[in-house]
Symmetry: C3
Subunit: 163 residues, 3 copies
């Protein structure tokens, strides 16, 4: 059963009252591999700085069941370890009812993708302070494509007290 | 050690100032199985539409350590895959100190439930835009009962700029 | 690649407009073991009560890639089960590229820590109601040190309608 909003999510929104502002934008991410990790940090930091919100919250939401948003260090070696870990834990080739035409009308054979993203998470909610994202020295905001290649939509919304 | 608020959480709350509104409600969910997935999307969407909040955030919080709130597609085949995955990863019958009277005064034998919900998560924080929940085509908001049957409480709070 | 804010996160911040308040504080946590679970609930509850925010949201954010923030019951037996589960699932001694000098310049041998925190999560976003944190009877807010001993920074931010 698919979720149907009555109206599609607007590509950008902006609203303000009493010093409180909400600004949102849909970010498109093109992936090239079935499993791929894309670093969104600079894009998101730029969006936060441009929003005018000084102190508040940033929500990043993947609009897909098989595409994750999560935090980790960005390093080629660690990304390889993450991919190996996910394949060992949730093997693509195992039997899943979701991949079996006797039980499912999904033809993408992506049960592993659903389970992997369920563990990594579809969203992060972060703090904004001094008009910048609150992140530690090694933390990067990552998009985890688990059933690409595809064009994915990540919605970013920042809200809080503005300048 | 149990957490004790000085006062119980109110069943419903509502507050507004300067165009900013916070509305919250406790949603009760009755489960029939030990492990069961309940689709909350329509209930939550209805709550958001009724709140009057146009642009903001929705927090869904399970009030229990052994009941999850998470995102996935709602499909019978996939739900079976999720249950199989959790039982394979965190077997109910394994030895756990939490289930051993020599180490624990918990008599529910539910260490597996605690570990499973720790992975799925107790909450989701979502965006609201145009007075509707921001969700992708296949995303559903799911309650993951891991130690039922029971009556569970999920608290929904929506906050942001109102009409 | 490390994330660099242009200015460091302030140790405390406070801002208000139109009845809406944002208050934030960096909480330091000293850990004594490589893997250790620290209960933050009382510290966070005290911060929320002191903030003046009545109805709103609390964000807790670990500033580290190898230190988690998550929810569970606080019990010695269950903490032992969590540690055993994590070691069984993501063994410290396995081969990881992140630990191999041929692929990585990280000398902490902490790939397991990165993967464990990726599953537990770096943050929780909770509700505040009646000037108190919304938590269930057995829920505690836990800090999961996965590469200690160290001094860790957890940033707490509460926002919403104030008294």
């Amino acid at each position: 059963m698919a979720t149907v909003r009555e109206t599609p999510v607007a590509k950008t929104t902006s609203a303000s009252a009493g010093g409180f502002t909400v600004v949102a934008e849909s970010i498109e991410v093109d992936t090239a591999e079935r499993v791929e990790i894309v670093d969104l940090t600079d894009t998101v930091m730029k969006f936060v700085r441009a929003s005018g919100v000084q102190e508040g919250l940033l929500s990043l939401w993947s609009m897909h069941t098989t595409c994750a948003v999560f935090i980790n260090e960005s390093q080629t070696a660690l990304e390889a370890d993450i991919k190996t870990f996910l394949e060992d834990l949730i093997a693509r080739g195992k039997y899943y009812k979701h991949n079996d035409p006797a039980h499912s009308d999904c033809d993408r054979q992506n049960a592993d993708s659903h389970l992997r993203v369920m563990l990594l998470g579809h969203s992060v909610t972060m703090q904004v302070s001094g008009s910048e994202l609150v992140v530690g020295r090694w933390q990067r905001v990552l998009c985890g494509e688990m059933d690409g290649p595809r064009t994915r939509t990540i919605r970013a919304q920042v809200s809080g007290l503005s300048r």
